[in-house]
Amino acid sequence: MSIKPIERAASATPQSVARKVRGLSDRAIAWLFVAPTILLLLAINIFPLIWTVRLSFTNFRVNRPNREADFVGLRNYERILTDGDIWVTMQATAHFLFWTIVLQVLIGFTLAYLINKKFRGSDLWTTVIVLPMMLSPAVVGNFWTFLYQPQIGLFNYVVGFLSGTDPSGFSMIGEVALAPWAIVIVDTWMWTPFVMLICLAGLRSIPESIYEAAECDRASKWRQFWTITIPMVLPFLMLAVLFRGIENFKMFDLVVQLTGGGPGSTTELTSINLKREAFEKWRTGYASAYAVILFVTVFGLASIYVKALNKVKER
C-alpha cells in the first residue's frame, strides 16, 4: 500500500514539533500562519502611521535627533491650514486632478468605443495605444522634457506647424501659464490607455442581446448609446475616475522629472511640496501634520471608492 504525501510529511515532522502542534486548535494553527504577515503589516504600515500622527503634534526635526521635541498641540495643523502657499499648492493639485481626469475620461472612453467596433488590426491598435502606460514615469518625464524644448522639441514644432506660431516663441515647461498644462498633457498621454482599458472591459461586458432588443424596438443608435451603453459603462467609468483621482493626488515622479515643481511653484503639487518640507527644510513635525491631512483626504476618497466598488459588485 502506498503512503499518502500528507502521511509522509507527518512522519517527517520532528517529534518535538509534532508534540507541540498536536495540542493546538485549528484556529491557533491558522493564527500561527497569519501572524508573520500581520506583524509585518503592523511594522511597516500601522506603526509608521501612528508615529506620523504622534510626530504631527511636535516640532521634531529629523536632522536634529538629539534635540528634545516639544509638544505643540494643533499648531502644525493650524499653520498648514492658514498657509497661503500650501493653499496655492492644493489649487495646483486640483487643476492637475480635474483636467487630467476630464481629458482621460473623454479620450479614454472615445478610444474604447472605437476599439470596441471590431475592425481589421484593432488588437494591434490596442497594443500600440497601451504602450505609454507601460513606461516608467521617470523615462516619460525625461523624454517629454526633450519634446517640450522650444528649439528642438517635436511638440513645439507640431504646435508651430498647426497654428502658424513660432515654435521657439513659447516654452511649455518654462512659462507660468503653460507649465500646469504641460504636466496635464503628459499625464493624459501616459494614463489615458488605463482608462481606455477599463472602459473597454465595461463595453465588452454589455450583452449583444440588449442592443438586438433595442434594434427590434427601432431605437436609434444615438438612443442606444445614451440608454444602454452609457448607463452600463458608468460604473466602470466611475471606477476609472476614482483610480486616477487617488493616483494623481499622490503624483510625484512624473512632475518632478518634468518640471521639478517650477517655474516658481506653479506645478508644485502637494506631494512635491511635502517632500520639500520633510527632506529639504527638515521640518519633520510640520511635514507629518501635512502628511496626515493628505492621508485623511486620500483615505476619505478611498472609502467612497470602496463603496462604489461594492455597488458595482452588487450589479
Binding site: 495643523y77 492644493m90 486640483a94 486632478l97 485623511v296 476619505g300 472609502s303
Partner: protein, 75 residues
C-alpha cells in the same frame, strides 16, 4: 380630565422597538458621510475662500471618521 390609556397593539410595540434601529441604517448615513468627504475635498482645493480651506480638514475628518463608523451600521 381622565385620559383613557389603551394597551399598545402588537404593531405599535414592534414599531417602537425597531424605531431606534431605523434611524441608524447604513444607507443615508453613509451617503451623508460621503457628501461630507466630497465637500471637504472641494473646500480643500477651491481657489476662492481661505476660510473654506482652513475648515476643510475638520469637515474631511468628520466625514472620514463618520464613514468608518456608519459603515458598521445595519443595512
Amino acid at each position: 380630565m381622565i385620559l383613557l390609556q389603551t394597551r399598545p397593539t402588537e404593531g405599535e410595540r414592534e414599531r417602537k422597538s425597531t424605531a431606534p434601529r431605523r434611524i441608524f441604517v447604513r444607507g443615508p448615513w453613509e451617503m451623508g458621510a460621503s457628501i461630507l468627504i466630497g465637500l471637504g475635498v472641494l473646500m480643500l482645493m477651491q481657489p476662492f475662500f481661505l476660510w473654506a480651506y482652513t475648515y476643510s480638514f475638520i469637515v474631511l475628518l468628520i466625514g472620514t471618521v463618520g464613514f468608518i463608523i456608519v459603515s458598521h451600521f445595519p443595512e
